[in-house]
């Protein structure tokens, strides 16, 4: 993409309303603009990041055998009355009356909607296990929306729902999601730590939150130091029993403020990390809480009919854009992990109008694109200082800097945004360098 033809309105000043670094940087780097309180427009580069995150979430869900659907944003209140949550949910639910005076709502979550689909279509244990997910906009009418997309009102969420014959099979589904969430966050360049959690308005008695550590986290968290070193292998066999993997992660102490046991502080001593955490995922297993009142039942192998055992699994897709920035930035701006970066390479032409530099940079731009490398080419007639500052601000992983002296010598400079390392390399080698290593 040529910057001169792109829509990337960066800001020099920090907007006064932004209290946390991700909000400031998202506005300054031209990723979002506010439409109304807690409601955002995603500008082109923000949309690319959002879409990259969405795709990784989809791939990791698909690997587990979960199947993507899409439920609507507007729901009928009737299903929420069946489950008993309509009155309970409170003022965060955006309630709507349509032209025929029917009670509707903007879905804050989809347990009822998906249970309605399944009770209409699934009749036998032979159709199980089943895990349906979707990535759809939700609305929660927060009383004080703040922190940009981190606590907005309209937000994009992946929510999935598992349906099983009995509690044991339901727990297997829960373990699959537990492991796949760790893998998803790992691919997003995040270190997420699972912690036992309260179940709140979703219900049930088994639940984990996934939190990443960042200074601006909304909650205090406590965990054993060793959790920061753990990782999940690239190839997980989701047909295997994943209980041991889950036990390995949950056998080490980790708790949010609400669940924290103060006695652990003396016990763990220096091994205890106390930090702020940002919730990026939350999983629940709630047995038959929705299936029983809504009569989502199947016939088992013994011929008996019984309610389905369900879990639900959420990832805050739009919130992750902010969370990744909270976890990965410096004084100069954002530092995108390669997996979600809006472009992999930022190409800087230091002397627009100089024929040799224009030719070299233009040629590099075309050849990088032909090799499948995503490039933002800053071809604007601006001072070098402006271009450097802008490129650091928007945080693409690699900068390729083309100037007249380098071109005369057949050289360009390559800068790693994260480490700041700079390297001179031959112009002729640039495409191979980026095309081969991803």
């Amino acid at each position: 993409m040529r910057r001169s033809r792109y829509f990337l309105p960066t800001l020099k000043e920090t907007p006064a309303e932004a209290q946390i670094v991700s909000h400031r940087l998202m506005l300054r780097a031209g990723l979002v603009r506010q439409h109304a309180a807690g409601i955002y427009n995603w500008l082109p580069m923000g949309y690319r990041v959002l879409d990259n995150i969405k795709r990784i979430v989809e791939q990791e869900q698909d690997r587990t055998g979960a199947i993507e659907i899409l439920m609507p944003t507007i729901q009928s209140a009737e299903f929420w009355k069946e489950s008993g949550r309509y009155e309970d949910y409170g003022r965060e639910m955006l309630r709507i009356t349509d032209r025929h005076e029917r009670e509707m709502l903007y879905g804050p979550t989809n347990e009822e909607a998906v249970t309605d689909i399944v009770r209409q279509t699934v009749k036998s244990y032979k159709d199980l296990p089943l895990n349906l997910y979707h990535i759809q906009w939700k609305f929660r009418d927060e009383v004080r929306p703040r922190f940009g997309v981190m606590r907005g009102r309209e937000f994009l969420m992946k929510d999935g729902y598992s349906f099983d014959l009995d509690e044991e099979a339901g727990r297997r589904a829960y373990h699959k999601m537990f492991v796949s969430y760790l893998k998803t966050f790992q691919r997003l360049g995040l270190k997420a730590i699972p912690m036992r959690a309260e179940t709140g308005p979703i219900g049930g008695n088994l639940s984990h939150e996934f939190l990443i550590l960042a200074e601006t986290g909304e909650s205090q968290v406590f965990c054993h130091r060793s959790l920061l070193e753990k990782s999940i292998p690239e190839d997980v066999d989701y047909d295997a029993d994943l209980e041991p993997v889950v036990a390995d992660w949950t056998g080490v102490y980790a708790a949010t403020d609400e669940m924290h046991d103060a006695a652990k502080e003396a016990e763990l001593g220096d091994d205890l990390i106390t930090a702020r955490g940002i919730e990026v995922g939350h999983i629940f297993f709630f047995n038959t809480k929705y299936s029983a009142p809504m009569k989502a039942e199947v016939v088992g192998p013994d011929g008996a009919t019984g309610p389905l055992y369900m879990g639900s699994y959420g990832i805050g897709v739009s919130r992750l854009v902010g969370a990744i920035i909270e976890a990965s930035h410096d004084e100069a701006g954002i530092i995108w992990p390669e997996s979600v970066a809006p472009f992999r390479v930022g190409l800087i032409n230091l002397k627009v109008g100089d024929a040799a530099t224009d030719n070299a940079a233009g040629d590099l731009y075309r050849r990088l694109q032909a090799a499948g490398v995503t490039v933002l080419y800053d071809d604007r007639d601006e001072r070098a200082g402006v271009k450097f500052a802008d490129m650091d601000l928007i945080g693409l992983p690699w900068q390729v800097i083309v100037g007249p002296k380098g071109v005369a010598a057949g050289q360009v400079e390559v800068k790693n945004r994260r480490t700041g390392e700079r390297e001179e390399m031959p112009l002729a080698g640039v495409v191979a360098r980026f095309a081969s290593s991803h």
Copy 2:
């Protein structure tokens, strides 16, 4: 995808509520399920088709230089008051009051929202031309939603907005979209015909609808026979002047009922086709209708400040799923064009449980997938007749049929869903056949 692990609830009976063929087939083929009047769940296969259409629309928009963003579904009423449309829009607008008693609405279209973005960010003619589009859910509270996704209340639309310095540049933007729409519909396997149209609540005095011909179309249309033979070349140069291409298409008679000139009937005689049409796209050029009241202005090369010239461009993405089925089906079911098919190949195992057949079909399934071919593998233990009927109903372009006799002879049968042609071919040749021809 193995059918035994997929979620594809087909129906044998035709649901009574469905009046038109696309609605019937979308329910029967398990593409959608109704959530509430005019509001649908997209089941896995329906979601795949929707996503394929979305991707083609994105690719064709990007080629023109239009840039993708994402605006929210919930809008503030304040912008609609600025443009003067808030009171005019009528009861199709879903009006909402949030917890702070602020007037909000579920966007039926986005002229105001995008104009607000542009007036905050674009100040100079140097930032033009600009065309921003998004693909987002819309809501129109139809008094009588019907025909499934063809006239639903919640629907997915691509809407784009062009911003230019003057009327002439604005018309160039309009011509680009005119041509790219023809190309988009062509890639979707549709023959769309542009017709001069009324501008309605969007406004302006230049507008074209794009209609496809189908018996169940909502409006009567008239056009010269030659339009059915026209096509758009694969490589369009969007930097060139496209006025001659537009003139070529609009120089031949085509009109909706509202705009029809009865005198043309005698004049054109046998060359006049009278048919029913389904609207799949609509483009508008409305000068400064929104930019003037909302003060979206730029400084021109002469230093003078003036309002932007705008157009808007819509494609009914979710409606297209129904429209494609209206245009492409037979007695047995849907016939998907290859470009949007949920899977390219349907693989039928005629004798599940027979080791040789299972091995041959399973091996073919894995090798087709490894070659990048999307495959739905019917591995259910069902009668052949059930599998054939189901596969015809869901309409994948190719069926590969593996049975014990064929396997013994090293042969499979390949059926073209559209033509019904069947061909015996060597098992060993199947992967190369589909991997090489797309």
